[in-house]
């Protein structure tokens, strides 16, 4: 018996050695003329669409960086592993990237639980990780190696609460969130807290599970409360059906959402049903800042699609990383992480990125409104206490909108691009 166990253990040992060796071989070329960066994401599985958008944006940035000569003549290379949306796979992928491929930094994930799984590995091995789009506060609390180029749920909840209160003059808001998504739950909590503190009423939240097709029970309950607006902090994959069913049930008030709405598909899917609804986002593709226009242009050329927020964040995370690599005294984990944390005023597509003490990107958010199936820029909301002296004027056509008549604003896509003012603050402190 005992020797059986031992004999079974022997092949395992061999296997482990084999894995070790196969990994060991692959980093040899990277050491010489290229710098290897790791990426992990959900390229398959139910959240594949998010992982793929991020990957597209990241690859675009990578090619631009390499076309411009790379880092001191060394080309950058990204090695990407799929995690299927599973934390165990994410942990393994990051371990492999760091320990086997010897990447200098890791970029990933969208879903917060996956960023936490990977982030804790990165922290353990002292390799910096940038999450492009995980907005849950817990992500960067892992430690000094982990940062992100997006704002956090708390801020986004505040942004939409403020917009609903100040601009929409809403007083009673219903909430419908995805209970299977930490992101959605987080936004729901933060929005509720902020909006209540502003004196508004938030009805008890209704929940769904991501992927559900039928929302009629929740929407029927919501209809009974006659809210001024409905906050739906979920992913666009679900929001389409929610909007369509809400309208069928006679709920005409605007829907409000977060960056999870941002996709070209939302307008295609929800059409008229989403017309006039608002969501907060990292950027607007109609922004006239040069960073944005070039990005949108090249992205369209390459992928034949309008980049969504995740693509923009993927793009920005790569560029923030590269920026830090240029500034860092060395590419050691410690130096690079410090350089990333010191990012200040970086002109990203998704706004001017400055890392705060928690290594969360502190930057304004935009509010966009769905008009003619396109997200149309409405206003910029700054973090508390960072409002520029002269806040950008609010587009008179889009706001204020009364909850009772949401679709009153004419939806003329041709007129839309001209209206948005630059999101860039005139002067940066």
């Amino acid at each position: 018996m005992s020797s059986r166990l031992l004999r079974l253990a022997a092949p395992l040992f061999t296997l482990a050695m084999a894995l070790g060796c196969s990994g060991g071989g692959s980093d040899a070329p990277a050491a010489s003329d290229t710098i290897l960066i790791g990426e992990y994401g959900s390229l398959t599985g139910k959240e594949a669409t998010f992982g793929q958008s991020t990957d597209n944006g990241l690859k675009l940035a990578l090619d631009e960086i390499n076309a411009a000569g790379g880092l001191n003549g060394k080309k950058l290379e990204v090695r990407v592993y799929d995690d299927q949306g599973k934390t165990q796979e994410a942990g393994t992928a990051v371990t492999r990237l760091i320990q086997d491929d010897k990447v200098v930094a890791v970029i990933g994930e969208v879903a917060s639980s996956l960023s936490i799984a990977g982030g804790r590995v990165a922290q353990q091995y002292g390799v910096p990780m940038i999450s492009p789009s995980s907005t849950n506060a817990a992500v960067t609390k892992i430690g000094d190696m982990v940062s992100r180029v997006c704002f956090i749920d708390g801020f986004q909840g505040y942004v939409m609460a403020k917009f609903a209160h100040d601009d929409l003059h809403a007083t009673k808001i219903a909430v419908l969130y995805d209970q299977a998504s930490a992101y959605s739950k987080g936004l729901q909590d933060d929005f509720g807290r902020e909006f209540t503190s502003m004196g508004g009423t938030v009805f008890p939240a209704q929940a769904y599970t991501g992927g559900d097709a039928d929302y009629s029970a929740q929407l029927t309950s919501i209809r009974e409360t006659a809210p001024d607006a409905i906050y739906v902090p979920g992913y666009y994959t679900d929001v389409g059906n929610i909007a369509l069913q809400a309208r069928k049930l006679g709920l005409t008030v605007p829907l409000l959402g977060g960056d999870g709405w941002d996709s070209e598909q939302l307008g295609k899917i929800a059409g008229d049903a989403i017309e006039g609804s608002y969501y907060s986002n990292h950027y607007s593709f109609q922004d006239t800042r040069p960073e944005v226009t070039t990005f949108v242009e090249t992205y369209k050329q390459r992928y034949n699609a309008v980049p969504d927020g995740l693509a923009a964040l993927g793009y920005d995370s790569m560029r923030v990383l590269f920026d830090a690599m240029k500034r860092a005294p060395s590419l050691s984990g410690k130096d690079l992480a410090a350089a990333i944390a010191a990012t200040n005023g970086f002109p990203g597509v998704t706004g001017i990125i400055t890392m705060d003490a928690n290594r969360d990107a502190s930057k304004p958010a935009v509010i966009v409104q769905m008009k003619g199936n396109q997200p149309t820029f409405v206003t910029t909301v700054y973090p508390k206490g960072q409002e520029p002296a002269a806040a950008a004027p609010v587009d008179p056509a889009a706001a204020p909108v009364d909850g009772a008549a949401p679709a009153a604003a004419p939806a003329d896509p041709a007129a839309a691009p001209a209206t948005p003012p630059p999101a860039t603050p005139a002067a940066k402190p």
Binding site: M1, S2, S3, R4, L5, L6, R7, L8, A9, L12, F13, L15, A16, M17, L19, G20, G23, G24, L43, T44, V80, Y81, D82, Q84, G85, K86, T87, Q88, E89, A90, G91, T92, V94, T95, R96, I98, Q99, D100, S112, S113, L114, I116, A117, G118, R120, V121, Q124, Y125, N136, A138, D178, Q179, A180, S181, A182, S184, K185, G186, D189, T209
Partner: protein, 369 residues
């Protein structure tokens, strides 16, 4: 009323030699502790972190597969809710190490080194995980007294889904030491993170602990299989009616199989929860995870302990090896599965063990009786 069978008297005359006891009983137990030490201090450091991580994943999957084999392979019942027990165990253990850690040390970081105070807490947590999962195993095992085959499967699947949805309903974890100290245990039970998962659990899962539990699970399963109790399990799988007629209390044994299987799934849950690079979250412990374990058992051969071990290794390593083909790897995996079922329906080993099969028989000859 039955007459004296004479087995007892016979046994009295057959008291084993001390050497036999040493060889059959003590040495394997010693090996069960030595092997994890070898993994921890020998193999782990020499192969590096990534293979070590894969070895951790393999170990956890081995515990899952071998334990499910107790129900699906040995007893011939059909459970596809193993992830549910894993979740129950993982969350129980997490509660102990996380909030326990806060109560004891004021934080949730790992404390003490190898076999230090923290790891002892982890041991307690893992045992608690086994017990709570076993309790659920008993609850789910009860319907098996009335249900057969696919109905039982569906009930276990339903159980797993119910567990998953209930965990989603829980609220955020508490992260503040003073708040935690002030909160009663019953209300802490509900603060396990909901959909985000139970984040921030200390990383106690090491090669030592994983392979210790692998050794123990394999030891228990293989000793069971070669003992009168395990044969009672097998008899139910073979022919329930004949088993009853031979005096096997089939209902009791089925429940026992469920309880034992769930307990080890709970252990696997605890190991999973405290592993570097995982987050214990409900989304991941749904029916897909259960299917994955069932696949390991069927691939390895229903009832074959070593087959399950091998299948768990293959199923864990294969996707890693296929990483280069990314989006096609699951397609390839699915095709492999279908072809395997058609071409080798009994799994790798059927009911037999690796050392009972021809090319390996010679290798293990010294063990043959």
């Amino acid at each position: 009323m039955a007459r004296e069978s004479g087995l007892k008297a016979r046994a009295a005359a057959l008291a084993p030699e001390p050497m036999t006891v040493l060889k059959q009983s003590v040495l394997p137990l010693v090996a069960a502790f030595v092997i994890p030490l070898i993994f921890h201090f020998g193999i782990g450091p020499s192969v590096g972190a990534y293979p070590s991580k894969v070895l951790l994943d393999i170990g956890i999957n081995v515990v899952l597969a071998v334990s499910l084999n107790l129900v699906n392979g040995f007893t011939g019942q059909f459970s596809i809710g193993h992830a549910g027990f894993m979740a129950v165990g993982g969350y129980t253990a997490g509660l102990v190490t996380y909030y326990g850690g806060y109560r004891i040390w004021g934080d949730s970081l790992p404390h003490g080194g190898f076999l230090g105070a923290g790891e002892m807490l982890f041991l307690v947590a893992t045992i608690a995980a086994a017990l709570s999962a076993a309790a659920f195993g008993y609850l789910v095992g009860l319907p098996s007294l009335r249900l057969r085959g696919d109905y039982l499967a569906l009930v276990t699947l339903g159980f797993g889904e119910i567990v998953r949805v209930m965990i989603q309903q829980t609220s955020d974890i508490a992260t503040d030491a003073t708040e935690i100290a002030a909160t009663s245990w019953p209300s802490l039970l509900w603060k396990v993170g909901g959909a985000l998962g139970f984040t921030g659990l200390p990383f106690y899962t090491s090669l030592f602990w994983v392979w210790l539990w692998v050794s123990l699970t394999v030891l228990v399963a293989s000793r069971l299989k070669t003992s009168t109790h395990g044969r009672a399990f097998l008899s139910i799988r073979e022919d329930e009616i004949a088993a009853e007629a031979m005096g096997i209390p089939t209902t009791t044994i089925k429940v026992r199989a469920f309880v034992m299987s769930a307990a080890f799934a709970g252990v696997a849950g605890s190991l999973f929860a405290h592993e570097v690079g995982t987050t214990l979250n409900p989304g991941e412990l749904g029916f897909q995870k259960s299917f994955e374990v069932v696949i390991m058992v069927v691939l390895g051969g229903m009832g074959s302990v070593s087959g399950c071990v091998l299948a768990a290794i293959v199923v864990t390593v294969l996707p890693e090896l296929l990483r280069s083909v990314d989006e096609y790897r699951m397609v390839a995996y699915a095709l492999t599965l279908i072809l395997m079922m058609i071409l080798r329906p009994q799994g790798l080993f059927g009911l037999r063990e690796i050392w009972e099969i021809w090319p390996f028989k010679a290798l293990f000859r010294s063990e043959a009786k």
